[in-house]
């Protein structure tokens, strides 16, 4: 004969596993949203703009300066030295890993070897470039460890150059 367990003295037990599951899910959610939601900040220092004497431009050696023009369609163009008689370029490139970065790395090394001073990069965003391009190029400066760079205004001659190369 089958035994019937009729002893009603047992404590009612609740299985707490799903509750623990839920609690840990919520913990994970709150932990991730509190710490990871914070955006990151890229610090930018602009050269002091003096409204009184705009002509007071800093003179730097041609062989140390590299100008990067930011054009339309996520393209950039760079040249060494002055626009009228560039020592190298102008060459059209982009912001990807294999675009401007190898050039920057090479130039940093070359200029350091040739002059003993670091490369100066001037970034001139055109009106057709967007904010992502600016952040990309600033990021690139951080990645290649370029210490001397500045954001400048673009001139008409440079816009003409971008137009000629079809990125304006």
């Amino acid at each position: 004969m089958a035994e019937l367990n009729t002893g009603g003295k047992q404590m009612p037990r609740v299985d707490l596993t799903p509750m623990v599951d839920l609690a840990f899910l919520l913990i994970t959610f709150f932990m991730l949203t509190t710490t990871l939601a914070k955006p990151h900040a890229m610090d930018v220092a602009m050269p002091d703009k003096d409204k009184e004497n705009k002509e007071d431009q800093l003179e730097v050696a041609d062989n140390r300066t590299m100008t990067i023009l930011l054009g339309a369609n996520d393209k950039a163009e760079y040249y060494m030295g002055q626009l009228e008689k560039p020592l190298e370029g102008p060459t059209v490139t982009d912001f990807s890993k294999n675009g401007i970065r190898p050039v920057l790395l090479k130039k940093l090394k070359d200029v350091q070897a040739a002059t003993g001073k670091s490369l100066i990069v001037i970034i001139r965003p055109s009106d057709k470039s967007n904010y992502r391009n600016l952040v990309d190029i600033m990021d690139e400066m951080k990645i290649v460890n370029a210490t001397q760079y500045m954001i400048g205004d673009i001139g008409t001659a440079e816009v003409e150059l971008l137009k000629r190369d079809g990125i304006y």
Binding site: L16, F24, M31, T34, H40, P47, D127, Y131, D139, I143
Partner: protein, 210 residues
């Protein structure tokens, strides 16, 4: 003859203690989490490899997005009230105590000063409807500096007065925003001799810096 009892280890574990701990942690995280207000102007910030986080306090954020609309917000309710008081003196528009309290809870706003009262009177959901707020005027009118310029100055003074610290400025731009809009903001900042500011970015997920 007595039966031989084979003791079987039970496979169920008592979950009570674990449950206690997890709920304790859960409570802790819920209480410490700051409720995030929805942004009045949602922007898609570009990615970068920078690891530095945006500070919490003493920060003014200029949001640029949706074809050059500018929104402004400053951290800290007290600072916001003080900023509003300064602006109301400047433009001689009075605000009631209730309006100031409501303004203190607004994370950011993007309306010309004349429409500010309307926006303050709205509730949160209506206020953050996309396309409702046209942005703060950023063009100077005659010899007067732009409203955005005035707001930033007011926020800087208010931060200095209340927290006794310099306000940091962060620009939070949409990735697709054209450069002239960003340039306008930078020019306004440089007009007040702020040459150092931050650009808000996302973290790049792929291994980009290799």
């Amino acid at each position: 003859m007595p039966k031989i009892k084979v003791k079987r280890a039970s496979t169920t574990i008592d979950m009570t203690a674990m449950c206690d701990v997890s709920f304790l942690l859960l409570t802790f995280f819920i209480l410490t989490a700051t409720a995030r207000q929805p942004d009045p102007l949602p922007v898609d910030t570009p990615a970068s490899t920078v690891q530095i986080k945006v500070p919490d306090a003493n920060l003014g954020t200029i949001t640029v997005g949706d074809n050059g609309k500018m929104f402004f917000g400053v951290a800290g309710p007290n600072v916001r009230v003080r900023m509003l008081e300064r602006m109301s003196e400047k433009y001689s528009v009075g605000f009631s105590q209730k309006e100031k309290e409501r303004f203190a809870l607004m994370e950011g706003f993007g309306v010309p000063f004349g429409n500010l009262k309307q926006i303050i009177a709205m509730d949160n959901a209506a206020r953050n409807k996309p396309g409702l707020q046209p942005g703060i005027p950023s063009d100077s009118v005659g010899n007067n500096p732009s409203e955005l310029h005035e707001w930033i100055i007011a926020a800087r003074y208010a931060t200095k007065e209340i927290n006794n610290a310099e306000m940091r400025v962060a620009i939070k731009g949409d990735a697709k925003e054209q450069y002239p809009a960003i340039k306008k903001v930078i020019d306004i900042l440089q007009g007040q001799k702020i040459n150092k500011f931050s650009l808000v970015t996302n973290l790049r997920t792929e291994n980009y810096a290799e």
